[in-house]
Assembly symmetry: C2
Homo-oligomer: 251 residues x 2
């Protein structure tokens, strides 16, 4: 059955090329994110092919993958240029956004909603409050260099939160305000990270395509004395943030 | 201009409802992932509406968001049921997949590729090897309970890696094999997490829809003596994994 065999062969070749393109794309993604192309222009296709011992077709397919992630674009007469900048959010220490990104620019917050709401059961439970106690709810669209970075939904017990109503929420991390208001440092936070596809409305708010990959961070932050004071649900645009940290084998 | 004003009003109402649906969806997502619905069936819409002081329309829209994330489905005669199970991958300690998920089932690995390849420059550089030195390349599709969980691309220096060729890669974490082969515990790893949309080929391998959100983990693991021994690029299906950990304010 030579026809069938050659079909098999073609399918295997396509799979092999797709696998090699993914390998190459992962290496180039790392190079892009770590600033290995300071001019913002990637080497020419034939240079990449030689450097990575890959075929031109594999190189093209790898660049297609990175274009699909909105990391690069092809510019006529220039080549493949880096168009996205992803910012490194630290995973080693509990920090607010402005704090962790201070080297990369200024974080500004558009306060979409702020005010007391009755705490739904899961919020009350996690903040250690009786059900339906009022809590301060804050919804902020956070920008770095003017571009949307994250959409943050925040719940804070009202005895602490009410003082935040008069504060400069547009330009200050909630973490900093909590420490100012309570006069004590924050202690720790339990975090959960997920990758989700942005629903239409969240995508529109974040100025990202519908279905864009979002890095979702849920974080319950405690004061130094252990009291839970800040429950947040944060949607980071996947094309604008990375989370970096160090893990150890033994604790 | 009453027509324009009423349009404004309608647009504001839609935005408000979309915002409230997101709030509710985030709370329900947490409940679902933390096992708050042990029967696997969510409360009825009117119960949720009462519990969360939301309108029925907001509840429906919130459930739509969770359906969009493939967390729940509507089953006629039953209601809204949980269909996804997300597994918690620890972010506090450096662990292999089988190790971190041992309470949740058995991890099996389909080895798609294994063998020596000349290390591309960024791989050689990060593993502290001369360029184009051969390294062991392993590509595995990892399953939990038979369902694809992640696609892992791994580079290991050949002096350590060659011994892995005779090992049971189908059923054993590479971390465990590295510790067995080198006779020393692993030390630490630098990790980077991103959310990306799966390209068509990766989606097909992971049996996820094209464009599905993927949690991408890049990890460079070092032996206890500091030597880098394992560079990995891991694509986790976003609908099957969460990363959880604890952050502290002061180091």
């Amino acid at each position: 059955m030579p026809a069938e065999r050659s079909l098999d062969h073609a399918a295997r070749r396509r799979r092999l090329r797709a696998d090699q393109a993914r390998q190459l794309a992962d290496l180039l993604r790392h190079q892009i994110l770590s600033g290995a192309f300071p001019t913002g222009v990637l080497p020419l296709e034939h240079t990449l092919a030689a450097d990575y011992r890959a075929s031109r077709n594999t190189v093209r397919q790898a660049l297609d993958l990175l274009r699909g992630e909105r990391l690069v674009e092809r510019q006529p007469g220039v080549g493949t240029v880096v168009v996205a900048e992803k910012y490194p959010h630290g995973l080693d220490r509990l920090q607010g956004l402005a704090e962790t990104l201070h080297e990369h620019g200024t974080v500004t917050n558009e306060v979409r909603t702020v005010g007391p709401v009755p705490a739904p059961a899961p919020v009350a439970h996690r903040l250690g409050l009786p059900e339906h106690t009022d809590v301060l709810y804050i919804e902020r669209l956070r920008r770095l260099g003017g571009l949307p970075l994250s959409l943050d939904l925040t719940y804070i017990p009202l005895d602490i939160g009410s003082a935040l109503l008069g504060c400069d929420l547009e330009n200050t991390d909630v973490f900093r305000l909590l420490e100012q208001q309570t006069g004590q440092p924050l202690g720790h936070a339990e975090i959960t990270l997920e990758a989700v596809n942005a629903d239409a409305h969240s995508a529109a708010v974040l100025q990202a395509p519908r279905g864009a990959a979002v890095l979702m961070l849920e974080r319950l932050t405690h004061l130094g004395d252990g009291r839970p004071v800040d429950l947040e649900f944060i949607r980071f645009r996947g094309d604008r943030i990375t989370m970096s940290g160090l893990l150890r084998r033994s604790l």
